[in-house]
């Protein structure tokens, strides 16, 4: 409750709380500045070899050069696009298949060991096969990315679906509903928080999958830049790509968080 005239103690409490938050924000920023300064300093003083370890200024210079010739936008754009495509497909397939598993006890019990096995299989092992089957192109990257995320997604959603309150399901039947009503009126609406928290995991996994794919089968994208950079020993390029990758993954995650807040009930 917001009082119109907060008491003195309340004001003090709020002031203290605000001060604490300001401190946290300041210290976070200082930590970053400190780490970057140490890195830069070590590079300048020759404590570390900046040809191998790069340095903040060298990374920035590389970034500015690539902004000038627009190539950085192409590479980042390709990676983001591939991630989003595979994310949409993972969520779509994940939902469809987990609903199918929920709808039939036999199907889910037959498929369960296969799903467990596929889920624990290291998906990077599939990448070379995918290249041979699908070719050196975006299809391989997207399939690799889907394979990383989709099995876990199906299993999480299916577990969530099967934990739906049986009394809520009984309620639907007692009101004369069918299995379809259970799905549309109880299962999906009650699973929205689960679906969204699962999306947060999946967007990260899709990015992992896309980078694995780009390591092997790409001539564009941040994963390609990292591999290319390491092969020609341009460590500035590698470090810069990793920094951009950090920022991209943070933005994608934030996107889902915003979506979560919008449909919160």
């Amino acid at each position: 409750m917001i009082e119109t005239h907060p008491s003195l103690a309340q004001q003090e409490f709020i002031e203290k709380e605000k001060q604490h938050r300001r401190n946290v924000r300041f210290l976070r920023l200082m930590l970053l500045v400190l780490l970057l300064s140490i890195w830069e300093l070590c590079a300048r003083l020759g404590i570390i070899n900046d040809f191998i370890f790069s340095s903040p200024t060298r990374v920035t210079m590389t970034f500015i050069d690539m902004v000038k010739d627009h190539s950085i936008f192409v590479h980042t754009g390709v990676t983001v696009m591939e991630t989003l495509i595979s994310f949409v497909l993972v969520v779509g397939f994940g939902l469809l298949i987990s609903i199918l598993l929920w709808s039939s006890r036999s199907i889910s019990e037959v498929l369960e060991p296969y799903l467990v096995m596929l889920n624990s299989l290291p998906k990077s092992a599939l990448a070379p096969i995918l290249i041979v089957w699908l070719g050196n192109n975006i299809k391989t990257i997207i399939v690799a990315s889907i394979s990383v995320a989709v099995f876990g997604c199906i299993m999480t959603l299916h577990t969530g679906f099967s934990q739906t309150d049986p009394d809520k399901i009984k309620l639907i039947y007692s009101l004369g509903g069918t299995k379809k009503d259970v799905l549309l009126k109880v299962l999906l609406p009650s699973s929205i928080p689960l679906i969204i928290s699962n999306m947060k995991v999946n967007i990260g996994l899709c990015l992992v999958g896309v980078i694995i794919g780009e390591f092997l089968a790409a001539n564009k994208g941040l994963g390609y830049l990292i591999i290319y950079g390491s092969q020609v020993f341009k460590m500035d390029l590698v470090v810069m790509s990793i920094v951009i990758l950090c920022i991209v993954s943070a933005i994608l995650y934030q996107g889902i968080t915003i979506l979560e807040k919008k449909i919160k009930f």
């Binding site: 039947y173 007692s174 004369g176 509903g177 609406p189």
Partner: protein, 255 residues
């Protein structure tokens, strides 16, 4: 006149790989139109199973259940089922929750919406139509659940310990509240409870079941005179303890 509900020699067993469990054995009783029955029994006597059978969610192994003289499976009459908790959906408003049954049976139109609106108004939820269930008190939630059940105009109401999730004080007043609503709409109702005073305070007759497997133990008519008396008033009347002792004794003596 035919009784509203007639149960004849109903038995039901649960099956699992460990074996077969007889839950109900040879249950027979009738409920007249507008009558309020309470079923009491020790826990695990198959009370909830009985309601699932009456509502048609389960089919009896033997015996038959007749509603207005027609077998339950072929009967088209609506049966309202109130579960132990209100199960209002948090992602719907109170109006949305009340509409659920009509929506499922595809009976939702402007007339039925208007009627729902009136019902919510009558039961003191008029200002909460657009509220989320979490904004309501336990008693109001239970009333909203009752509106959801009554919206389908059931001929027969089944109440499966609908007050057991509430704290004692709320429970007394909600029980008072809901049983008055049911009485005023002249519905036939069957209440399951393990609370003897609750049973005696609302019912016209109390059916006592034995422990597993549930068998008919006794039917105790509870009469406080011809006029309807609210449950809270009944609890203060001298006859109350007489009936209480009578039902209590039936539950206690094992034969």
């Amino acid at each position: 006149m035919k009784p509203k509900l007639e149960v004849r020699g109903v038995s039901y067993s649960y099956h699992s790989l460990e074996g077969e469990t007889l839950a109900l054995s040879d249950i027979s009783f009738t409920a007249e139109n507008g009558e309020f029955l309470a079923i009491v029994g020790p826990s695990g006597c198959g009370k909830s199973t009985l309601l699932s059978l009456l509502s048609g969610l389960l089919t009896p192994d033997t015996g038959e259940i007749l509603i207005d003289g027609v077998s339950q499976a072929e009967s088209f009459s609506n049966i309202g089922y109130m579960l132990q908790r209100d199960h209002l959906f948090e992602w719907r408003t109170i109006m949305g929750n009340a509409e659920l049954g009509l929506e499922i049976q595809k009976k939702l139109d402007s007339t039925s919406k208007e009627k729902l609106h009136q019902m919510l108004l009558t039961y003191g939820l008029g200002n909460f139509e657009q509220a989320k269930p979490s904004e309501l008190s336990g008693g109001m939630r239970q009333r909203a659940a009752l509106v959801r059940t009554l919206a389908l105009e059931p001929d027969l109401l089944l109440l499966d310990e609908p007050f057991s999730a509430l704290d004692y004080q709320t429970r007394l007043s909600v029980c008072d509240d809901i049983s008055s609503i049911i009485k005023s709409t002249h519905k036939t109702a069957i209440l399951i409870t393990h609370d003897l005073s609750e049973a005696i305070s609302v019912a016209d007759r109390v059916i006592v079941l034995t422990s597993r497997p549930g068998r008919m133990k006794a039917i105790v008519p509870v009469s406080f005179g011809d006029d309807y008396i609210r449950p809270l008033m009944r609890r203060n009347m001298p006859e109350f303890s007489v009936f209480f002792n009578q039902v209590w004794k039936e539950l206690q003596n094992h034969d």
